[in-house]
């Protein structure tokens, strides 16, 4: 089973990395770019035989406790197959 966990900075939190990329792109002449926000994702492979509900619960727990900082980040778990 494969899953993907997305972690992004909360919409209310500043993302200086994204802002820097946006300024750099504008500076390179790409004036069509209005805003950039950066996030990260984790492609996770689970061992065979894990039930889908168990996988979903486990991945949400891992995303909350290990992969994201819940003070400033949101996460989203997507089961791929």
């Amino acid at each position: 089973m494969k899953a993907r966990v997305f972690v992004s900075v909360k919409p209310t939190v500043l993302d200086p990395q994204g802002q820097t990329i946006c300024s750099a792109l504008n500076g390179l002449g790409h004036n069509e770019i209005a805003a950039v926000r950066q996030g990260k994702y984790f492609d996770i492979a689970l061992t065979n035989g894990v039930a889908p509900e168990r996988a979903s619960r486990l991945l949400n727990e891992i995303a909350r406790d290990v992969l994201s900082n819940p003070v400033i980040e949101d996460y989203r778990v997507e089961i791929l197959d």
Copy 2:
């Protein structure tokens, strides 16, 4: 118009960050986790009035030239709306 650019390490390239996360999760008792690969994504907002074909071409160019290192990374552009 909004788009998302995904950048990931090529499958043939080692991802030590992902391996470290995988070991850490196994060490925490999550033995169902077989492998982890980390990637990043960019949520990009374009100014109004950019034609979809132009946006797609522009974003592919930006992804290739600025957001990824084509020697070790793959990218994928997704137009959201």
